[in-house]
């Protein structure tokens, strides 16, 4: 008997009744009932119920009796109606079943270490990763991989329509240690020399603009040898984009339309464009973070001036120290118990805030332990400034700006989850612009780049490069989705003198510049168009689109947090001959 299917297991409907079909797939579930054997036959496309009748073929019925979970079979038979009251509306094939007349066993299966058919079963992640092929069969990961495929294809087709070309840049690149650690690859031809796996195609894509390629993209695999935080992967994918002769205002609608195309393809719904815009300063001020979750409001409100007029020493001391007082208005939060407020206080304590002041706006007026430090007019000014109404709870942190912002950002999101303020399946996208060009790096006692050293300073701030570099804004932008930084980009420096000036401020020596970026600064001198770009985290996007809890759920074969592949057991020891050829030697501690 052949095994080439006439249909997949998700296709047959009542229209096919009477047809002879050939299906193939895995034994998903089996039920023996009244002498009949019912099997849910599964493939990537769905599940079809097949039935073995003893009277059709006794020997076949006996063979069917021996089938076990996850065995692979091909069956031939006739499509019949399940009969009234027997259909399963949850299945695309729920109206029919197939009366099997022939069966071929294609492959037996050992008993899986966990159930495939019970998706809700909570299986330890180590076991799932070791048997990834069984985990994928369970459905959740395979659906994420399907969305991932759709998203990549939608992005590619959209960018193609916009005249972007997908150009593959090298994986075997040059080590330019910046930011994260490079993964290194020893060269056999030039012993003692190494390639590095790219942390991003940044320089290559800028070189492509210098090459006149005008509009480039790539779904690029990038690598970082980091100590993996909760949810990072040593190799990850980004939708990498660069264009010439444009400005951020040229790029924004392109990315917005691309995101819309991806959402349409994957979720069958569009996005509202243009996206909201916030400067970095505005985002920090109103949400305490540069990646605010905008699916709900509850902004941070600064009350420095009002607090200064109070008698509350905690506030006044912080102001004297140069700190800030900011608060949140929790709508309908006035019913919070003392215990709940203590819990909030302890929550912000973990973010470094020494206390949490609160005011409940009761029908009879504001109450709280600190009310007495504020005269009634001042109090009502505060309530008004915070948009407070009867029934609301106001929460305040007084500390240095960083701590205050961080504590209230965390508290804001915590309360939103707790109070279920976030609409399910809602997506809030925003551009955050005008980041500072530099931050101050205490360790190296020097400027460090907020983005990377190829980011253009804001045109209006060029003069500040000499007088006050930390005040210089960059011509950069992040795309934020539901509180995640989905992407980051900038207008690039296209002037070699300005590029050298930035390298100078970073205190890179001429020798270091030459060694690491010499080819690039040279290239800049041969006619470089103004250009800009962005890189969007594909894994993160798919995670958000599918509602997955971790990047590991949307990558076919992810690494663990210790950067290992539990299925193949990589990394692994290699043969001594391999190392000898590379002229490298491993020096293990005793």
């Amino acid at each position: 008997m052949r095994y080439e299917r006439t249909h997949d297991c998700g296709t047959l409907t009542a229209k096919a009744i009477g047809k002879r079909v050939l299906l193939a797939g895995w034994v998903h579930r089996r039920r023996d009932h009244g002498g009949l054997i019912f099997i849910d036959l599964r493939d990537r496309f769905g599940v079809t119920q097949i039935v073995f009748h003893p009277e059709t073929d006794a020997a076949l019925h006996e063979r069917a009796g021996a089938l076990r979970s996850e065995w692979v079979i091909a069956v031939e038979g006739e499509v019949v109606s399940r009969g009234p009251g027997m259909s399963n509306p949850k299945l695309s094939t729920g109206e029919i079943e197939v009366n099997v007349t022939h069966m071929r066993l294609l492959s037996e299966a050992k008993t899986p270490p966990f159930s495939i058919c019970d998706e809700s079963l909570n299986v330890g992640e180590e076991l799932r990763l070791k048997y990834r092929y069984l985990d994928i069969r369970r459905g959740k990961v395979s659906r994420a991989l399907e969305v991932r495929h759709q998203a990549m294809l939608a992005a590619r087709n959209f960018l193609d329509q916009q005249n972007f070309l997908e150009i593959t840049t090298p994986v075997l690149g040059k080590s330019t240690p910046e930011g994260a650690r490079d993964y290194l690859v020893p060269s056999r031809v030039y012993p003692g020399n190494f390639f590095a796996l790219p942390q991003s195609p940044q320089l290559f894509k800028q070189i492509l603009m210098i090459s006149g390629m005008d509009r480039y993209f790539q779904i690029a695999t990038c690598f970082r040898d980091e100590d993996l935080r909760a949810d990072r992967q040593p190799e990850f994918s980004q939708i990498d984009i660069e264009m010439s002769f444009g400005r951020p205002e040229t790029l924004f609608p392109i990315i917005e339309q691309m995101m819309d195309a991806i959402f349409q393809k994957c979720l069958d719904r569009g996005l509202q464009t243009p996206f909201r815009h916030l400067t970095y300063a505005e985002a920090i001020e109103a949400y305490g973070t540069d990646k605010p979750d905008l699916r709900f409001e509850m902004p941070l409100v600064r009350i420095d001036a009002l607090a200064a007029r109070s008698e509350f020493s905690v506030f006044k001391e912080q102001l004297a120290l140069g700190g800030v007082i900011k608060g949140l208005c929790v709508k309908g939060g006035a019913s919070a118990s003392r215990k709940k407020i203590e819990e909030y206080t302890s929550f912000v304590g973990k973010q470094g805030a020494k206390g949490l002041a609160w005011i409940k706006i009761q029908p009879e007026g504001p109450t709280s332990s600190i009310v007495k430090f504020f005269d009634p007019d001042l109090l009502s000014e505060i309530v008004h400034t915070m948009n407070g109404e009867a029934g609301d709870l106001l929460l305040f942190v007084a500390s240095d700006a960083t701590t205050t912002n961080s504590a209230l950002d965390h508290l804001r999101r915590h309360i939103a989850h707790e109070m279920e303020l976030i609409e399910e399946d809602s997506f809030a996208l925003a551009w955050i612009t005008d980041f500072p060009l530099f931050t101050w790096d205490a360790e190296s006692d020097n400027f460090a780049c907020e983005h990377h050293p190829f980011t253009s300073p804001h045109a209006e701030d060029l003069a500040l490069l000499d007088s006050d570099p930390l005040q210089v804004r960059s011509s950069s932008y992040d795309l934020v989705l539901n509180g995640y930084e989905l992407g980051s980009g900038s207008q690039r420096i296209h002037d070699s003198d300005l590029q050298e000036k930035i390298f100078g401020l970073l205190k890179l020596s001429k020798a270091t510049i030459e060694e690491r970026f010499g080819f690039f600064t040279e290239a800049l001198r041969y006619g470089t168009p103004p250009h800009l770009g962005i890189a969007l985290g594909l894994d993160r996007l798919i995670m958000i689109l599918t509602g997955a809890k971790s990047l590991r759920e949307v990558i076919a074969f992810p690494k663990t947090q210790r950067a290992t592949d539990l299925m193949t057991e990589a990394p692994s020891a290699v043969m001594q001959e391999q190392l000898t050829e590379l002229k490298i030697h491993v020096e293990l501690p005793e």
Copy 2:
């Protein structure tokens, strides 16, 4: 003045006359003529002639006078007709020019080390690779990159329509030394352990079939640390495909339609399907090679039985030694000079053939030094068997089968090029099937795989595995295009017992199997569908589609034959700290 274009440099036609436009690009060519300055302004999309009139703006005209090749400018002006007799039919924009009223200099350029505008100029490859960004501007590489983009997108969209999902497999994989050398990546977290860059996603794609993903593809970057032959790259791209529940006959039309879609998109022409089929044995017999160039015929003809009846001792001795006598019929070749035939003889000599017998079919009858060894009837039988006609030249090699086939294969292609038998822009695709499963590897004194150890033996030859493994054909297939092996694939082994038997014949110890493939042989036991696949060389395909002479012409940033990137100077030395962290030490020879 802004620099955001209203049009690119390949767009403006007579329809735009009278419009004000803003263009940006590179100064391609400049001509000063009658007080006017004409500049060909270039971007990726084309060239537009712009004109600076002294009377429009004397200062502007003077600034235009300072422009040099490859400077980047933006210009604003009015589209005007070039006037009768002045249009350039070779350019899409040849009917118009732009009278410039405003100009912004965006970037100056150093004098390039070679001319950008003269594409015909022969520039040394080292210089071109060092200044790849300038080389790309010259047009040839950028056009190849555009075709590459189109081909990738056409393949992706076609495979998507056929329900294949693109799934990314890991780059940081496990070292399973087979065939070529692995590139290794030291693990920092587990010192002394290494990742390997994939030589292909073979095991992962088979695991995806075991995962139930059914139809997978990926445009995958693969890596081989080989001593690079004439035209290999350490990293290369393949269109990698795998499907379940199919047979070669299921896969062939899919690949044929995909190729057709690629040709339609890239060259605006379809392919004749189905492709020609030849078994390995037929290909060797008729063309002396398993990758015949079928753009022309001129088959090899075996005349063993006829030669045995001659008195020609050279032929008879070879037959006695177990050799073969095969010949070519060169249509219209009878006019070849003695010198030409000597040249052919020396040509086959380089392939190991000790001599080349020849017969010219003159109007008066066959002539040659060996005619006297054949009686006239035998001679006319030979001429008839070879499809010889008056005016043809017959050439014969007598040697062992390998030498005879190789010599005549090379000679056949040599003569076809010399006599221009190959139609320009013609493409001949064919499937070569039924390769031997094993070859004999003299060095290891054991069987080696012709394809790879996961290739299924031909169903009809299973019994031979025990009795005569070298006679076993595999269920494999190559796709051949114009004499290049474009792709290679097979039905895979989906039975774990058979897989172990093959590993056994390859004399892999249980420990080695377990160490290298343990996860895979384990996976095979959990319900593996019959599956098969193919991998097609993308770089090679683009090379053939664009008529390029080398893979380096169709890769944006290729490596040299010494596996270096001349532009970035990778590989390079790295900082000692990086090696210390990895616990590796380089041992250079004194």
